[in-house]
Amino acid sequence: MTREIAVVAFAQTAHRRTSDELSEVEMLMPVLHEVLERTGLKTADIGFTCSGSSDYLAGRAFSFTLALDGVGAWPPISESHVEMDGAWALYEAWTKLLTGDADTALVYSYGKSSPGPVRDVLTRQLDPYYVAPLWPDPVALAALQAQALIDAGETDEPALAAVAARNRAAASSNSHAQLRGSIPQGDYLVRPLRTGDCPPIGDGAAAVILATGERARELCARPAWIRGIDHRIEAHGLGVRDLTDSPSTRLAAEKAGAFERPVDTAELHAPFTSQEVILRKALRLDDSVTVNPSGGALAAHPIMAAGLIRVGEAAARIHRGESDRALAHATSGPCLQQNLVAVLEGDPR
């Protein structure tokens, strides 16, 4: 029988534009302590630890090994790392728990992008033969996608501004968010995207704890059961894809069971306003669904943690009894290249 696996605790930093005074491990440690305290677990109790981060952000080699100091990796622990958003580390931890090798898992991720020019840094993830030598930054690529969406008649600049305003208004009640409340839409960064259409650049970290079956019920009053989780990737070449759609998100959602019954909440990892338009369409979310009550990636976007935070925020709403069935989405790469969808449920009330 398939094991039941739930998110039982979630913690995140206050996301900020810079955190000069802290090393990566110093930034991460309070979050690790907080998530462990929520469950009463100690490092030695955790069956599997998995993290997500990227050395390119801070310009420091093998930084994830140094970050392990914050976990307390001696005596030796069972550990793994993905050079991706922590949502993919969560996926690895979920599969580890499914195998029966562990009953609990600690998943964390962090991004300290303030030391480098993140728009330039992210060009290094592109195809190195045809694209990276042109240094197109993620805002430029998202702007190409936004213009394609506008040309297709699926949105316009006022509608994009409304997406930005709604997310940041929602972030007013999120003390961890970097941008909250009314933010001017600003000038064009790369037309048609204005600063308001783009995520803030910031440093931050997040952590969740997963547990199986009865263990989850011991650790959390209302566990957020992962009913399904799946991730899909699209063709590497941007010019091969229909940028106005996200078939990989749709397929991941279908495989995760998102369409079997309606969700009441969706946490979408849409760093750009135009991408929320695409994701809502791909996920068939109508106005009955509360989208990004946290403010989403437009309110705080610590790279490598923003996707894991979507899962954490969705789970936390179930923990608090504000949601019964929530969808969490994470993305990675340019123009929604890779997408992960998880469906979380609380026990019936």
């Binding site: 030391p115 190195p128 702007a143 190409l144 936004a146």
Partner: protein
């Protein structure tokens, strides 16, 4: 926070990449002002060409020439070009479907302003004057209102096809080592070595990183250690590193400074390499203006007993 250090950090690397038959032909073609695509089994022509069909994953090699003229499929106005981008004056990023191709190529379009570009605009390639077989041989696109150009039907065979490219990458950072390591580096400036004590296990870590790797606890209490210490283990280096002024063979050691619960690394000098041993007592040697000890030399004390440092190996 006072005392937290910051410094510029440049990460620069020339990545040398092999191309393979399809990418090699495409980039060689650009050098010769020929644009090649690759045809899939179902008859689509992919430009830029890839070695595997993105739908079926089937290997594809059927190279076909397409026109240097095409149509903008989407665009974005870039009013502040960044370092390394194709044009230094404001330009439009464009995806262009070249005549004869079924997919679009990303590049820059040279037009005076955003009002001069739209989806559906006809464009043609402007070639770079000096071409070496790289995507930048295509300098940019420019508007074009003539007929679609007719490709000559090149088969993708070149006499001196290129097989690799060197793609330089450079990223500039402002590095900060954080609170704990800043304190460590700051103390070194005064020729002192400080570690931090874990509040739980009471061990002193040098250099401190702000966290106890055993307990996962934050460390704050600074503890001065050394200056003398004990060699816990060592190796003899026989290969001379580039740009390094040290004669080989030399000894590189783990040194447990007095009062520290973690050994740090250092070079041992002032003693023949083959006389260095576990338990040797050493002290730092500073050179004028240096930010860290140049090396450690024997103090002349009796060797430390194995039991006194065995936990630190």
């Amino acid at each position: 926070m006072p005392g937290v250090l910051k410094a510029p950090l440049v990460v620069e690397f020339p990545f040398t990449r092999s191309l393979g038959p399809v990418q090699g032909a495409f980039l060689t073609g650009l050098r010769e002002r020929v644009v090649l695509g690759v045809r899939t089994r179902d008859g689509r022509t992919l430009v830029p060409p890839v070695e595997y069909d993105p739908v079926t994953a089937e290997e594809i090699r059927d190279l076909v020439e397409v026109a240097p003229t095409g149509t903008v499929t989407t665009w974005a106005w870039n009013h502040e070009p960044r370092r390394g981008q194709p044009l230094s004056s404001p330009f439009a990023w464009v995806l262009v479907k070249l005549d004869g191709a079924d997919t679009a190529l990303l590049h820059a379009l040279d037009v005076p302003g955003p009002e001069a570009v739209r989806t559906g605009l006809r464009v043609r390639i402007r070639w770079a004057e000096e071409r070496s077989g790289a995507i930048t041989d295509l300098a940019c696109f420019e508007p074009y209102d003539g007929e679609p150009a007719r490709p000559a039907g090149h088969d993708g065979e070149f006499e001196d096809a290129i097989t690799g490219i060197v793609a330089p990458a450079r990223l500039d950072y402002t590095y900060s080592p954080g609170r704990a390591q800043s304190a460590y580096i700051g103390a070194l400036a005064g020729q002192r070595t400080v570690g931090e004590r874990c509040p739980k296990c009471r061990k002193v870590y040098v250099p401190p990183r702000g966290a106890c790797p055993t307990c996962g606890a934050a460390t704050h209490e600074q503890v001065e250690v050394g200056p003398r210490g004990t060699v816990t283990t060592f190796c003899i280096v026989n290969i001379k590193a580039k740009n390094l002024d040290i004669e080989v063979p030399y000894v590189y050691a783990h040194i447990a400074l007095d009062g520290a619960d973690l050994a740090l690394h250092g070079r041992i000098g002032g003693i023949p390499y083959d006389q260095v041993r576990m338990g040797l007592r050493v002290e730092p040697v500073w050179t004028r203006g240096a930010r860290h000890p140049d090396h450690y030399r024997p103090t002349g004390e009796p060797d430390a007993h194995y039991d006194s440092y065995k936990e630190l190996l």
